[in-house]
Symmetry: C2
Subunit: 416 residues, 2 copies
Amino acid sequence: MQNASSDLDTVVMKFGGSSVAEPERIRHVAHRLVAARESGRRVVGTVSAMGEATDSLLELASRVSASPNARELDMLLSTGERVACALVAIAVHDLGHEAVSFTGSQAGILTDAVHTRAKIREITPVRVLRALDEEKIVLVAGFQGFSRETMDVTTLGRGSTDLTAVALAAALGASCEIYSDVPGVFTADPRIVPDARRLARVSYEEMLEMAASGARVLMLRAVELARAHGVPLLARSSFSDDPGTWVHHGEEMEQPIVSAVTHSDDIVLFRLREVPGRQGAAAAVFEALAAEHVTVDAVLQATARMAEVSFSIRQEDAAGARLAVERMRSELGPVALGELAELGSVSLVGAGMRSHPGVAAKMFRTLGEEDVEVRLVSTSPIKITVTVARRDVARAVRSVHAAFGLGEDAAVATAN
Amino acid sequence: MQNASSDLDTVVMKFGGSSVAEPERIRHVAHRLVAARESGRRVVGTVSAMGEATDSLLELASRVSASPNARELDMLLSTGERVACALVAIAVHDLGHEAVSFTGSQAGILTDAVHTRAKIREITPVRVLRALDEEKIVLVAGFQGFSRETMDVTTLGRGSTDLTAVALAAALGASCEIYSDVPGVFTADPRIVPDARRLARVSYEEMLEMAASGARVLMLRAVELARAHGVPLLARSSFSDDPGTWVHHGEEMEQPIVSAVTHSDDIVLFRLREVPGRQGAAAAVFEALAAEHVTVDAVLQATARMAEVSFSIRQEDAAGARLAVERMRSELGPVALGELAELGSVSLVGAGMRSHPGVAAKMFRTLGEEDVEVRLVSTSPIKITVTVARRDVARAVRSVHAAFGLGEDAAVATAN
């Protein structure tokens, strides 16, 4: 006996660009959607553009204009997800199930009118709900919405189909499954640490710190939104039946002290000397960086009269940071700039370290034993990040991962 | 001094897929739109998908499903024109003019809900008019509309961007310029008849006959719509400044007796013998053909008791015609079928031949002198079509073109 459809669980399943890059993969996605439907759930799929489709459209636009109009760029880029969605819907029909695809505006994803980086304001999924009631599998084009003021198509920024998925799940009271080419969240990057373990569960807070410090499984904004609305998130593989990693409220769980080691290897360190030590100098530094949309990873400020400010940023933000320093010089007078590239960062993340003050000490001791020189440190209640030479990153990740017993072997050893 | 914008002439300019196949060509289209705007007109552009984009999308769909769902196919295919439109708008902005692109639904192109071959019901171009009043160049995605009943995207059939352009022109009280890779309508195909002349003007009726008999400059449905709404049509080249060919009401013009020779070389002749000569037999034949969407070019029916019916069709309709014959056999009993391929047709078109009965005689005499065997004849008040062997088509076109003095040389000779 089937329940009334409105009593059934609803799931939003999101598939990234690599999961729909080829017709065979699109058929595979359709199979997964159909399997979820046949298990009795109400199913919404949301997909990114196929493979490199968005890059191809951007390339076309750049060949037509050096600075493409933002409204028209949104009109252009939003087609990529529509193509992928329609193809998945066609594939579902081919499997004998009813499906219907909606654009962002048809799905009621209302945003502000800031083209190329719009923010979702509200979701009114009237057509989605009606189609679910008709027992259809619903596909929603990711990455895009619609401004009610201008009646124009908007996009939410690169990689934002995760955001579409979470926002839809919040509006539908659904859980959200994010499918990608990795089988979940790991204690470290398995390419660097062979015995890295898949985590069965992490808290939103840990996932936020991990996404901010190099883990690319889930988009930062999507995790923030899931946390704000309490949407249970499952990160899993499109290509296997591994159970994946659940991301949800940490309070429900027995917290391990540390959960994972993350890293990045594209860090640049800026060191400003002879910054006048007067009130507001540090503020001027960060205002100038924010004006250039530079995200700062870690900061060190010496407090002498002529202050020294060091901060680390991603390589991709280096040009913007140099512009910001020029601006500071015009405001604060001559400031000496030192720039150190070829750096990386290693972060230890764990909600349990809040109440365990010895974690940082153990991490530094481990790095010292490995002769890894630490350039800069930043901490939060659930994360410690060190900036190190790029050539030291892999060794640092492996040693910290082992020291905290995060690996498969360690888990087995502990169990014995 | 510029007039109030509402007093300015409005022009709808349509560019085909080859005119927007590459970024440089898109920039060229933008230049043409801007030039028209700078000449003081209100400008609406409508474009097809880039080059082979629609074929690529169809190919993707066919790899996902052998029989793609029609609603989803429309969702998929409509993206091609949106991409081209957004890119043209980006290129116009790059030239320092304001532009805005609209999807079919944003432009108010309302259709019925018959997916993949919808018919336009009404155009409510509220946003187009507002943008024109704001002195913007407006781009409208061709080939597509929107069903008010289902709230879904529809498409109008292959090659239907001409139809979008004419329908918009009718709704806006505008003239319509169709840009393609040929510089207008010619007295014959210049690849076959080197001295073929561009016609400065033809009537809607002549253009309909020419489009139906092989001239591919303008889409038949678009010419019908232009005629019904009295929209002046100009067919011209994207790649030159040639003045092109005006298509409008014949009554305004001094009519030449004949205007052009058209041809096609993909004709198949079906010959049904032993068709019972009872009332309704011919009707059964044509009903069966219509059920398979087969367009019949020419028909010959002998009127003995056991009738013989011959009809010519396009090669692409041959499979459908064979299906139709199977259906006839089940209804009328055994019918003998002869099929003759490797045929073509040659048509002489001219609004002036209505009042000149000698035209057919002169055409047959000319073909006879060239030893061209005529298999089938069909006529209308302004057209004579003969079905001939494919190998005779070029020779027949050249001889008829010369006999009626349609070429450049003949025009010069007459003028002397």
